[in-house]
Symmetry: C2
Subunit: 492 residues, 2 copies
């Protein structure tokens, strides 16, 4: 009984990693599921299919060690919303963070000042990703469904309920709803009243290390685990992938850039931003997760590789060509908002641009400008955190976009902060595993996570290039502002 499974319920797939008693990952499994997009802006998932993926994952991992699983602990996508009926039967699919159908509700709430109030009370950015806006939208558009629902929860809560019969949530997941009061760390009364939702319709909030007695016997057998296997409540992927790279206080930022990206840090006090440019989600009364989710990461790199070069070009070719251009790409500025943007500008209509072309700018400059622009945007998001907290000692970085020495060094130069890479990239499941160790008493304090989340290489800023980018970044910001007004018109 020395093994722990860290589960990561993502938007496109569920991944599970099997860890041994020393916290070493020994096996992993992954099962995907489709996004349901039957109408414009819809982005739902079938909770049953996710539950199937979860069962497959656990079964596959448990088999490897003959069911000797001490605990299963959870990292989960945030902001999903599921409506349940009298017997907890599904009334809706899981409406994901990517579902934008409540965009108009958000627009209205922005104008009325309600969105600002929600941000100040709960740290939730003014964005359709938040279930509180999805609830407002359902209340208006589907009143019957809305009134009929006995419970509202997210996908993690639903999955654990299926396995154990307990419908509870943890603070980090609750924060993702947009109704968790930053001061009381409980559901906000005023917002509950506004929505006319009884407190009982929302899951009870407990801490992430909560141990849930046992799995239903039928699943113990079906999944090939043990009757002693414990379910550990776990937390949001945002929180876990932050502590999972050992960014446990404001000395470190966690930067993950895969297809999309995020920059996050943990501070001791709730701290909201004048421009609402980042989220502030409570973990407990001493820890608050600040950060920004960023749409335009490797997905833009990928677009540029295929568009400026062609589909057969491998990433390394693109990087090689980009490196032949000088730092700053001869002042060619690229705004990477190809998929609209969340942090730091929170504008779904935003678009990408190359600004400042002359005949000196050839393919290498355009390629390098794309990479620099993606990183300027990451820095822009990080900068709003720095302004409200402090400059971190280092940035702990993971993700496919940050795979090369070139891009890592560029990050260090643009951020003017050392970039540290991690030995273990699966930070979410790793931290879920760590929560299980705490729950089981195998590890004690949070800072022991450093034993598992080990740092690898450090990339120090290069003074000369820092100077180039410090000059260029204000220009990037200016152009970002100059173009803001035109996006709405372009998108019509």
């Amino acid at each position: 009984m020395n093994y722990i499974i860290g589960m990561d319920v993502g938007t496109t797939a569920t991944k599970g990693v099997l860890y041994d008693e020393n916290g070493k990952d020994i096996f992993s499994a992954r099962y995907g599921y489709p996004l349901i997009q039957e109408e414009v802006n819809q982005a739902e998932e079938d909770p049953q299919l996710i539950f199937d993926a979860v069962q497959n994952t656990i079964f596959k991992l448990a088999q490897k060690v003959k069911g000797q699983i001490a605990a299963i602990s959870w990292s989960s996508q945030m902001h999903s919303l599921i409506g349940l009926g009298r017997n907890n039967e599904l009334l809706t699919n899981s409406i994901t963070w990517a579902d934008n159908r409540c965009a108009k509700v958000v627009e209205k709430a922005k104008k009325s000042g309600l969105a600002r109030k929600i941000y100040e009370k709960t740290g939730m950015p003014m964005h359709p990703m938040a279930p509180i806006y999805k609830l407002m939208w359902l209340k208006n558009e589907r009143p019957e469904l809305f009134n009929h629902a006995e419970k509202w929860c997210g996908i993690k809560e639903y999955l654990i309920w299926r396995l154990t019969g307990k419908l509870i949530t943890d603070t980090t997941m609750a924060a993702g709803i947009g109704m968790l009061n930053l001061k009381t760390l409980d559901w906000d009364q005023e917002l509950l009243e506004l929505l006319e939702i009884d407190q009982n319709k929302l899951p009870k909030i407990v801490k992430p290390t909560q141990v849930i007695a046992a799995v239903y016997p039928e699943y113990v057998q079906k999944l090939g685990i043990s009757t002693d296997t414990k379910i550990i409540l776990g937390a949001s992927d945002g929180y876990l992938s932050t502590i999972g790279v050992n960014a446990i206080d404001s000395d470190h930022f966690a930067l993950n850039v895969g297809t999309s990206g995020a920059v996050r840090t943990i501070v001791a006090q709730p701290k909201i931003d004048q421009n609402a440019s980042y989220f502030c989600y409570p973990v407990d009364k001493q820890h608050y997760l600040l950060g920004g989710p960023i749409n335009n990461g490797g997905i833009v790199f990928n677009w540029a590789r295929q568009t400026l070069f062609d589909a057969n070009e491998i990433p390394q070719d693109f990087l090689d060509v980009a490196q032949t251009a000088p730092a700053g790409s001869r002042s060619l500025i690229f705004l990477p908002y190809l998929g609209g943007e969340r942090a730091p500008i929170w504008d779904a209509n935003a678009r990408g641009s190359f600004v400042g072309l002359t005949r000196m700018h050839q393919k290498p400059e355009m390629a390098r400008a794309v990479i620099e622009g993606i990183i300027f945007n990451l820095y822009d998001a990080a900068f709003s955190l720095i302004k409200n907290t402090k400059k971190p000692v280092a940035i702990n970085a993971t993700g496919g976009f940050l795979k090369s020495d070139f891009v890592r060094q560029l990050c260090a130069n643009i951020f003017n902060i050392p970039i540290v890479t991690m030995k273990e990239e699966q930070s979410g499941t790793l931290a879920a595993m760590f929560l299980a160790r705490q729950a089981l008493g195998w590890s004690k304090k949070l800072d022991e996570i450093v034993q598992f989340a080990q740092e690898d290489k450090v990339y120090f800023p290069n003074e000369k290039e820092v100077a180039v980018y410090q000059k260029l970044f204000p220009l990037y910001c200016e152009i970002r502002n100059d173009l803001a007004a035109s996006y709405r018109k372009i998108s019509r």
Copy 2:
């Protein structure tokens, strides 16, 4: 004695075309010369080398018809400035329109209001291309040279003086100095006084059809022409390439887009623009040439071909790919100011941009947006003329960028005006030849030029695409304005 030579003294080369008595071109010749760029922003030419090219050209053409040349008539680059000493010896090179060393003088004159005054008096845009600013610059920076000069003229005046001993200019060339009063059609007294230049230091102004007695015997022999060969004064290339496509009144615009471009029309009254966005040069008291010179024509097409594709890609490939994208390039906007811009924005610091990128935009959209952007800029320049005059019946178009059916049709759709192509692309030398015919009495009225400047194909606007571009053009203008403030900062 039935042949006429039309000479075109351009910035990179002198071209000569030999015409028979029916105005048919039967032979042509071309000799180039280098631009002198020994310091930043300098762009001079050696008048002697140009005179050599002129001699070579005439010699080559005259040989073809055993010297039976009735007349040699001249089309010339505008805005060149040459200082001459007591015996008309050269004190300077020919300082061309492309020389930007007086940019600061123009900046100052803009701030003081002097530039505006010059525009209002003379129709000369507030730009370093104008000799009046070059004279101010020389007065400040090279006072000895400035005071020493006995005459100031342009390259056409110098060449004709070398051949005939007469130093005279015509109204269309005089207009290019920036000191010709729009009302009096003579040198402006106030500006002469401001510059402390005596009227006698500038060539006398006569009309373009002026016949100059005879060529020096030494050159008659050297060039292989006849003692009866007449020199016809000729005019500016701007004016001649307008009447040379049969755009002799405001019913027609002339559009030429080669490496760079220009849009021009002839109106009956002087008409200046609120924003000084085009020039207004007198021809005579009934004719005024309005128009805008545009830096970013085929040179930008060429850049895009080499940068988005590669240097081996032929123009047709680029056009083929561009045509696979829908009209409007899915709202991707390209600002073509890669070489700064003269008309219509008159901003040397302007730069190129792609604005509005999403992941839907691939190579075809980027390619098409480049072509559309180049044409939007042409239309933008034409639009300032239309606002102050009227919408023309047709646009008579020439130049390498307008060679394909696709680009011509696109022009018709963006301008929402029929595009007419010409049988004869060498409109400058053709019109110079026509002036000679008038001077010789072979042709009478200007409208007879239509016999030689014959229209070829017509491209009518396509309603559906017109609608797309009428929606997109305001967006193009808005983005053009939004980015204006950033160019100065980028260029530092």
